[in-house]
């Protein structure tokens, strides 16, 4: 239901809009679905002008079908797969973050969502030489941590300064639930629609600009006591791929292991519920230290 306004297309001026409105034609649908000849007679407007306007309005407001082959060609040429820098996560994501899609990372407090986001940002800007837009809603973005991760990749300060520079390839939102969950529930009716609107903006942006969108979400406990991502069932349809991060439970409750386990809970490319364990320190260590024992020694000295 789009209201007719002057200037919407060439030839649609104020007088014409007024005449049409007098004939009870208010919206684009009315123009397109009515008989042009009869309308021209009723409003005493030229048939040719109305026909041209109708054509332009149709072109502006219709969706045109695309053949599958063309769509596939377009996808092949425009989609990029951005590695996250963490081989375990890449395995879960089928080799990385896909542009044009929303990927969601959920987990409890301290499970490492922000750390993974920092790692992805540093990896994309340093190794892939592309720019990243990081939207932080929790106050957890610390540039010194990004610097630490960057320094683990290269100790050359010149290289550190010259990262990025390409076009924006990734948009990371940490976290999307911190600003949306206060709006949901209770007597607030517009919270759900705002959430779906944010989702729509992210999806359109990812598709139109060919960027990969990575969002983080908090977790809640379901009735049976197990962890599930927050924001409810309506949000669960928005991201294409969802990963749940958890701390690996060791003996004492206050242990400081940096091991995390990632479970794939929704994916259109891989079987679900496959799990990978990884070490959060991958972002701040060089690639050589891979044995578990050496890591323990380094935590004492680091």
């Amino acid at each position: 239901m789009v209201v007719l306004r002057e200037g919407m297309c060439p030839g649609l001026d104020e007088d014409l809009v007024r005449d049409l409105r007098a004939a009870d034609i208010k919206t684009v649908e009315d123009v397109v679905s009515s008989d042009i000849e009869e309308l021209a007679q009723r409003c005493s407007v030229s048939y040719k002008a109305l026909f041209a306007i109708r054509r332009v309005l149709l072109a502006q407001h219709t969706a045109f079908p695309v053949s599958g082959a063309d769509l596939y060609e377009e996808l092949l040429s425009s989609t990029a797969i951005l590695s996250t820098g963490n081989p375990s996560l890449d395995k879960l994501l089928d080799s990385g973050l896909y542009t044009g899609e929303i990927t969601e990372l959920s987990g409890g407090p301290g499970s490492g969502k922000s750390q993974v986001c920092f790692g992805v940002a540093v990896h994309i800007s340093y190794h892939l030489k592309q720019s990243v837009i990081f939207i932080d809603t929790t106050g957890g973005l610390t540039a010194s941590r990004l610097l630490q991760m960057l320094q683990a990749e290269t100790s050359n300060t010149e290289e550190q300064v010259s990262v990025g520079g390409g076009s924006v390839k990734a948009v990371i939102v940490d976290s999307v639930s911190a600003v949306i969950s206060p709006l949901l529930g209770g007597k607030q009716n517009e919270g759900m629609s705002l959430m779906i609107q944010v989702a729509g903006v992210l999806k359109t942006m990812a598709k139109d600009f060919n960027v990969a969108a990575l969002v983080t979400n908090h977790v809640t406990r379901s009735g049976s006591g197990e962890l599930q991502p927050g924001l409810g069932v309506s949000w669960s349809h928005i991201p294409r791929t969802r990963i749940l991060l958890e701390r690996v439970e060791r003996a004492t409750p206050v242990s400081h292991s940096s091991m995390r386990s990632a479970t794939l809970i929704k994916s259109s490319r891989q079987p679900c519920h496959i799990k990978e364990e990884f070490d959060l320190q991958w972002g701040s260590r060089s690639k050589e230290a891979s044995s578990g024992k050496r890591k323990l020694d380094e935590t004492d000295s680091g």
């Binding site: 239901m1 957890g140 610390t142 977790v219 400081h256």
Partner: protein, 369 residues
């Protein structure tokens, strides 16, 4: 991207009339006068005025805004590059806790511009740490402190003035022993117990409504008092754990409170410290675990989480969640001077009995051979 009319906070009948008249997005409404709108959408003058006010207030800023996405943003936040953020961070200092081990683990102390939560069982020292921080934030800058004022919101009634005087006196004495040059000597003249007490703004809240109202009014207060560098809420759990029938409402209020605190921390450049209580969670196999209170979603609210707990007879502080520091556990103690490192006064006496007990056993074994 435009914002749809159905997401505005208006009454359903008004929204229906707007949609029926063909208005889909707020952009369509921006350029209309109230008279035009009331005619086209068959609304009363009053309703049309209300609609336009809502649109201008919520939608107008968002369409042109900066880094906030599609939804409403009163002041569109400017985007920074990571390099600019790093430079800004290096100017922000941390508030020392006077326990050098904890400060080392936190990277200098409690960071300014972030929210920190201190959880622990009763009696482990949360209020003591808060009182220590309230004094430490006032240490002059030439001694490595922040030199700011503090707003202390007390919900439990655990703020003891005499204890603050003791901690303040100990801090003043500690700094006066460190005086090396003239600048520090001049600073010491303004760093006395009286000035420390006069730089603390104490608020007493009796229930959650008062707490929420106080936090709501704080930004204005902070704009009038730009020297405030620390906000302490002791405790945030106490008012929210009483008489709450609707737990989902509690979660919503807490999430909103968390966002307001984060906005204050980053917008006004203050550190926020909150204390939380512990509760028992029963997991599947009948095992119970001590976890911080206020639920799972509150765990995401503070940026840094400190867990104070007992290990036998020792007090331990664990960093449970932090964006830029690894998790670590350090030991601390509470003395008459306040929150300090464990150890200097304790270790020598404990060593002597241990060696005494080892020797007789050793000599006995020798004797038996």
């Amino acid at each position: 991207m435009q914002r749809s009319v159905s997401s505005l906070s208006l009454s359903p009948s008004v929204k229906m009339k707007l949609v029926n008249a063909g208005f889909q997005f707020t952009a369509d409404l921006l350029h209309l006068k109230p008279l035009q709108l009331s005619k086209e959408a068959s609304l009363t003058q009053q309703e049309a005025l209300e609609v336009l006010q809502t649109v201008r207030r919520e939608g107008g800023g968002g369409d042109e805004g900066g880094g906030g996405g599609g939804a409403a943003a009163a002041a569109a936040s400017a985007s920074l590059t990571a390099l600019e953020l790093l430079q800004k961070e290096e100017e922000m200092k941390s508030i020392v806790t006077f326990s050098s081990q904890l400060d080392a683990a936190l990277g200098g102390g409690l960071p300014v511009g972030k929210t920190t939560e201190i959880c622990g069982a009763p009696g482990v020292g949360k209020t003591q740490l808060c009182l220590q921080l309230a004094v430490d934030v006032q240490v002059p800058q030439c001694f490595g402190g922040v030199g700011g004022q503090v707003v202390y919101i007390d919900t439990e009634g655990s703020f003891l003035l005499q204890r603050v005087v003791d901690i303040a006196a100990a801090a003043v004495q500690h700094c006066s022993l460190l005086v090396e040059d003239d600048e520090q000597r001049v600073a010491m003249e303004t760093f006395t117990v009286e000035t420390i007490l006069s730089n603390m703004f104490l608020v007493r809240c009796h229930d959650y409504v008062e707490l929420l109202a106080e936090v709501h009014l704080l930004p204005d207060f902070l704009s009038e008092h730009p020297r405030v560098r620390l906000l302490v809420i002791d405790s945030v759990a106490f008012p929210f754990r009483q008489h709450f029938d609707d737990l989902s409402q509690r979660t919503r209020l807490l999430n909103g409170l968390a966002q307001q605190l984060i906005a204050m921390a980053t917008g006004h450049g203050i550190a926020v410290a909150m204390t939380n209580q512990m509760t028992t969670r029963l997991s599947g196999g009948g095992q119970s675990q001590l976890v911080p209170a206020l639920g799972e979603s509150w765990g995401h609210a503070p940026t840094i989480r400190l867990l104070l707990h007992w290990a036998g007879s020792r007090r331990m502080a664990a960093i449970f969640k932090s964006p830029d520091h690894r998790g670590a556990t350090v030991q601390y103690q509470i003395t008459s001077e306040g929150f300090r490192d464990a150890g200097q006064s304790e270790q020598p006496p404990s060593k002597r009995p241990r060696t005494q007990s080892v020797e007789p056993a050793g000599s006995q074994r020798d004797a038996s051979r």
